[in-house]
Symmetry: C2
Subunit: 339 residues, 2 copies
Amino acid sequence: MGGDYGPSYTVPAVVQALLHFPELNIQLVGRESDINAELDAQTSILPRSIDRDALLSRLTIHHCDHVIANDAKPSAALRNSRGSSMRETIDLVARGEADAAVSGGNTGALMALSKHGIKMLPGIERPALVSALPTQSGQPVWLLDLGANIDVDSDTLYQFAIMGSALAEQHLAKVPKVALLNIGAEASKGNDTIKSCAMRLEQTPSINYIGFIEGHEILLDKADVIVCDGFAGNICLKTSEGIANLILNKLKQHFFGHPVKKWLARILFASALKELKALNPDQYNGASLLGLRSIVIKSHGSADKTAIINAIGEAVHEVKRQIPQRISDGLETVLLERH
Amino acid sequence: MGGDYGPSYTVPAVVQALLHFPELNIQLVGRESDINAELDAQTSILPRSIDRDALLSRLTIHHCDHVIANDAKPSAALRNSRGSSMRETIDLVARGEADAAVSGGNTGALMALSKHGIKMLPGIERPALVSALPTQSGQPVWLLDLGANIDVDSDTLYQFAIMGSALAEQHLAKVPKVALLNIGAEASKGNDTIKSCAMRLEQTPSINYIGFIEGHEILLDKADVIVCDGFAGNICLKTSEGIANLILNKLKQHFFGHPVKKWLARILFASALKELKALNPDQYNGASLLGLRSIVIKSHGSADKTAIINAIGEAVHEVKRQIPQRISDGLETVLLERH
């Protein structure tokens, strides 16, 4: 039910995801009539070569009337969550009836419900929101926290680094380079929280800590994982999206504003537009809530069908690589190193 | 002596600024031999129609051997500043022998020396660094603080709002819209510092406070002045510069990577490139240190000649509009409103 467009976007994405990931089973939680109407429309246009019944056998619908509003406060959402699609989704994961939850709904509510229903990994206090951004080379860089924790201490930042490193390692198949986002590269820069976290990371052999990184270096492939508090991370991500969208929209206006230019731009600069679009931070979708005992993926509210499929894909990947277990292992290694 | 290129960039910019602003007198502080060598080279290529002696009569050189290093810590720079070009420049302003200082040197040192030598306006505790960014419409938006103050309380944020509003009003000739940078638009978002500052701004009639603004809205002309702590502001500005530079460089590679494309791009998309370049946050130069009794402008270390002229132009503008006095007036108005 989540996201700006509800089932009219999620249901088509789910049908495509079932086609794309043959091992995937999906449980859709929400208003059954809305879901079924979209599902009928989607399955009726499937090519005849596809076995409609086999596809639908991998899909279950859990009816829920109640939907948590996008502007509900997390505390209120938590209190009034009973019977809501988000709460039921989290409960399915908490009971082990689903391996991962994907939601396009209210981020704060999703975090509160996840923390309450699924519980945290031992040693982690609060979930962190992490997402990948495209860089200069085309490689992703993981940024966390993106807004789940605005006041953090050095312990929490340190946990973010361990969790981000564990996640990125499963994507990159190498020990990722971890950096702290700061306003300068020198050791004297930043507040006490950052400086004290930097000192601890320097003394942690299992983390490949490379030091401080500044805002303009995020996309230059210097680091694979960038750690900061949720305020800085949210500002950083949204500012990037804002300026990238603005530049790309202006470019499109110029390219496509005149028929001849449009024709020439399509022929000559198609690869340019494609490469530039690939730099837009919102092309990736599927932010993970790290630190929980199970997998919860937040899809962008404004995500389109492809973006929702990406978020489902991230969930599939994290289930296969058992990310919560990897994070647990990472925490244990760090604890053993310390003693 | 400051900036990445020293007198080889500052001296040509100064000669152009003298031509551009007929009412301007400039005092150059630094190594006389280096300055004179550049000055000879610059004046020898001036058109014959320009009165070289008249131009040079508006230029004075103060010799200084010592230059504060770019990587010097502010505290160390302050201790060892005697006889340095930056210290002498600030002292000229402090003694009233110059109306404004412009420096491309070490930002932290410039702030420490300015605060120590020039003193703060009554009611302001620390200088804030502010700069304009280009927006969607082409109008600038002022963002502060850009890194001078990383741990701020609600009082300091509130002072930033008053100072930023006073500065923008002198540029826009209207009461500017002031917003606080936050991770959501709802009143419940952000930490206690931001929320308490928001409440005070709502009760301040002389400030046109419009509420919270998110990272992706900075360039959408919703606000004229955006206020945040120096950590968020620095990350926000540098991230914007990073992604804008990356996209524009990729675009140039595509446009100019092939002779035919280059020719076509020049003919068809010259206006596009120009407009996109104008969106790059680092096109403006000349960040002001607000809250001092006199005017101090920080020029980007990597500023080119045009950018340095812009920084000098900002100094000229601020002298003409008596920005420190305007800020003082703004503070007084707010104090009177409160009683």
